[in-house]
């Protein structure tokens, strides 16, 4: 199963999305979070993102769902900290945080491959709420 790594500037946001995605995927997939800095302040940390990716990895790859700004730069940096072998199975979604995360979790829980999980997350960009 494809796993999810949730990356946010805020640990609470990351935990919140974890709750949502974990419920919707009914615990079928591995989801790990990297939210905020280790001292509790707001920010993103490539080292903890790399750790979250390793935790979410099941052999079928991991999709990174990140919030904004430096979350993407730090996720990009985190890739460099992973083993060469693992790098090829990690993708950053260009997707909205909540909607993209939820769509990815549902798709991954159906057993879809990394490419389809990424597409599901990215398709959430065009979702209309009204």
């Amino acid at each position: 199963m494809v796993g999810l790594a949730i990356v946010s500037h805020s640990s609470k946001l990351a935990e919140g999305l974890y709750e949502l995605t974990n419920q919707l995927s009914r615990g079928k997939i591995k989801i790990a979070t990297a939210g905020g800095m280790s001292d509790g302040s707001i920010g993103t940390d490539a080292v903890s993102i790399a750790a979250a990716v390793r935790k979410a990895e099941d052999g079928d790859g991991v999709l990174i769902i990140a919030d904004l700004g430096s979350a993407i730069l730090s996720s990009d940096m985190a890739m460099e900290l992973l083993d060469e072998e693992q790098k090829g199975r990690i993708v950053i979604a260009d997707a909205p945080f909540v909607e993209g995360g939820v769509a990815a979790a549902v798709e991954a829980s159906l057993g879809s491959d990394l490419e389809r999980v990424k597409e599901a997350a990215q398709a959430a960009k065009g979702l209309r709420k009204l």
Binding site: H9, D39, G43, T44, A46, V47, S48, G69, E80
Partner: protein
């Protein structure tokens, strides 16, 4: 002229000090066009770096610089973390295994750092970022070396070029980073990243000029 690990350590300490002294100033610049955290973030990162320096005194310069990079990556928190982190890590790769750096080694480290920032941020000069002070500095250093000028004076010229580049960011409309949300309203403001980069280069040049 060469610089050894104790000089490089002094350079990093001086960088940490200048960031700490300018924490409010950097945050003030960032509040105009960003999210008002650059000074706080950089100071947190450089203080973490400073606390690791004593344990690195018996390592080679490459290891020292790579450790500085990794520390910044995990403590800065904003975009400056991966950017400066990559810069120091790439400089560390360029200086891998070396106990002393000569003029050419310093050039290789500076060039690797600049390339790392450009790769990471997918940015080029003229976009109102730290690249606008670092790129002219690296060029000035390289030009000075080519004309036979020594390490300390070449670094001096690099710092002057960084300062000019930093000033010039006031005349640029941001197209990268948080400031790009402001578009034309970013005009007239000096870029915080270009400023922190310039401050660190000034600190480095000052340390090397006193040896």
């Amino acid at each position: 002229m060469t610089i050894d690990i104790s000089i490089v350590t002094d350079v990093i300490k001086a960088m940490a000090r200048v960031i700490s002294e300018n924490k409010e100033y950097l945050t003030q610049l960032d509040s105009a066009i960003g999210d008002a955290d650059h000074g706080i973030n950089m100071d947190r990162g450089m203080q973490a770096v400073a606390s690791k320096l004593p344990a690195l005194s018996d390592k080679d310069i490459g290891t020292l610089l790579k450790t500085v990079g990794m520390t910044l990556v995990s403590t800065v928190g904003g975009a400056a973390g991966p950017l400066y982190g990559t810069a120091f890590m790439r400089a560390g790769q360029a200086a891998s295994g070396k106990d002393e750096l000569n003029e050419e080694d310093v050039l290789a480290a500076l060039e690797a750092a600049l390339k790392g920032i450009k790769d990471r941020g997918k940015a080029v000069a003229g976009e109102k970022t730290m690249i606008d002070s670092i790129e002219p500095a690296v060029k000035a250093y390289s030009d000075a070396l080519k004309s036979g000028i020594g390490l300390a004076e070449s670094l001096n010229r690099a710092k002057d070029a960084a300062s000019e580049g930093m000033e010039y960011t006031k005349n640029i409309i941001a197209t990268k980073g948080r400031a790009s949300y402001l578009g034309e309203r970013s005009m007239g403001h000096q870029d915080p990243g270009a400023t922190s980069a310039c401050l660190m280069l000034v600190a480095a040049a000052r340390v090397v000029s006193t040896i």
